[in-house]
């Protein structure tokens, strides 16, 4: 079995930041492997260690800068990586679901995996829709928000648990090939070992342009335009206690006594 895992480098934002136009000013941004994708990578690597997957390939849409993040996934055990980038993607400030679907479809068709794993959502723009959209595009089956995957794949079916709201899980079986969107908590993502990090440097990281993949540039124009970004207005009149830890703790202590909930 071959598994393709989508890996995104997401922007992280410092506690204090400024907005410039429709984005956060560069100096307040960091970069990290998308948390949900980290769990997807781990699940794929565990399937490989269990002798079920023969190969784990990652795919990332992103500029050269994100190769460090891709190497993280390789260091955790993925075999090789594909990175898709193009000058035409440079100026796009919001790559919408349709555009990502088009690009990833081309990669899946080239790689021909049995299973595609994606994170449920990305930590920055959090659409939460690409995995299912991609599955539909490919004619794959799918399951969204998976927090458990049985590793035996009996009769070419995947038995999964989907995490519904309110502490209820749904047990679902789906036919392969399939795309699963992976929820945090499905496993415990490993830290990359030093040996893994060294090995990752030697693993294949293949860069593809849209033209290489046969994707028309018009596919990335997208239908969603970002028009404004601002800090949300606070809805509450929060009382902020100030002072030393002892002073603020004393304020809170007093409140708890007033409410009659503390001795």
């Amino acid at each position: 079995m071959k598994i393709l895992v989508t890996v995104k480098e997401v922007s992280t934002v410092e506690d204090e930041f400024e907005i410039e136009g429709t984005s956060i000013a560069e100096q307040y941004l960091g970069a990290d492997l998308n948390e949900w994708d980290d769990y997807a990578v781990e699940e794929a690597v565990q399937l490989q260690e269990a002798g079920i997957a023969d190969e784990v390939v990652t795919v990332t849409i992103g500029p050269e800068d994100c190769e460090q993040t891709i190497r993280q996934a390789l260091a955790k055990g993925a075999d090789r990586a594909v990175r898709v980038w193009d000058d035409s993607l440079e100026g796009v400030d919001l790559l919408d679901v349709g555009a990502k679907t088009e690009i990833l479809r081309a990669v899946v068709e080239a790689e021909d995996p049995d299973l595609v794993l994606t994170g449920v959502q990305s930590g920055d723009d959090s659409w939460g829709a690409t995995g299912v959209s991609l599955a539909e595009e490919l004619g794959f089956e799918w399951a969204a928000v998976v927090n458990h995957l049985e590793h035996d794949f009996e009769d070419d079916r995947a038995a999964v648990r989907r995490e519904l709201e309110g502490g209820v899980e749904e047990l679902t079986e789906i036919e392969l090939p399939a795309a699963l969107t992976i929820q945090t908590g499905i496993n415990e993502p490993r830290y990359a070992s030093l040996r893994g990090i060294r090995q990752a440097q030697r693993k294949e990281l293949d860069v593809q342009t849209l033209a290489d993949l046969g994707v028309d540039e018009s596919a990335i124009e997208g239908d969603v335009t970002l028009t404004d970004m601002y800090e949300p207005e606070s809805e509450s009149d929060v009382t902020v206690w100030e002072g030393s830890a002892e002073e603020t703790a004393a304020e809170l202590g007093e409140l708890l006594r007033e409410k009659g909930v503390a001795p």
């Binding site: 992280t12 506690d15 930041f17 956060i24 919001l94 919408d96 679901v97 349709g98 930590g123 920055d124 959090s126 659409w127 939460g128 829709a129 690409t130 299912v132 959209s133 539909e136 089956e141 399951a143 928000v145 989907r162 519904l164 709201e165 309110g166 502490g167 047990l171 079986e173 789906i174 036919e175 399939a178 969107t181 945090t184 908590g185 415990e188 239908d223 969603v224 335009t225 970002l226 028009t227 404004d228 970004m229 601002y230 800090e231 949300p232 606070s234 809805e235 509450s236 929060v238 009382t239 902020v240 100030e242 830890a245 703790a249 809170l252 409140l255 409410k259 909930v261 503390a262 001795p263």
Partner: protein
Amino acid sequence: MTNVLAVADHRRGELRDVSYELITAGRQLADETGGELHVAVISGTVDEFADKLNREGVDAVHTVDYGEEFNHDVYAQVLTQLYDEHAPQYVVAPNSVNGLDYAPAVANALNLPIVTDTVDLESDGDTLVATREMYGGKVETTTELEGTVVATIRGGEWPAAEGTGDAAIEAFDAEIDEDAVGSTVTGFEEVGGGDVDISEADVLVSVGRGIEEEENLEIIRDLADALDATVSSSRPIVDSGWLPKNRQVGQSGKVVTPDVYIAIGISGAVQHVAGMKGSDTIVAINTDPNAPIMDIADYAIHDDLFDVVPALTEEFQ
């Protein structure tokens, strides 16, 4: 003319609250575009559901009596057929776990753009302005989409529709291609259970990612002991296996309404807030004054939890 098609959400025989919120959001869009609001309800006891969904402002309810529970393949097939027949400008679905299991597939099958997890929607008839958050709620954005759009709405952002409407309730004769149904729901399971019911607690000392290490939970337990309170947590703590699932507050955990909720090192992701915003008094201890939890807190301490929590414990020992 159908301008808006809203898709009801139900589970194990019950309509979910977001179904009524979808009617409010859908009615508003229908008013803005001068058309009708239709509601689709698929699978389960659809006639009973249709009666409940017939609230003020609903013009038609389409029922599809097929199977008991949600199946995304069935939903996707039915919704593309309803779309073909009624040509709505906007399809609105819940941004629930199930909504996210079919809405992107429907959008892709119909070659329509999708905008998810919206907290506000406005249309002038051509352009849809959708408001949504990014970076875990640190910023809000407006996005614009032209023409026909699939949008999912976040629960709790629109008021539930009330009153009784005079909708036409029509059985929709969907053709389900059984061969194209590749998924089967085989059951449900309640998770967590266990020793403690956090939804019963008067005071919750709730801990999040800010605690950094499992060993550090000790100071949270000490505080809970001193206050005779119960320990709960946000999702990452449970994901890490530091606390059992039954301690998790939030959309995928428990909904809690204690007298006092002390959020320690919790940033306040929307999924967490969904589970605790009904608390009587919310106190947040967090170094980040811009953390989303501050938007719903009544009291806040912008300081290091490792200083404040032991000091508070000492108060009560």
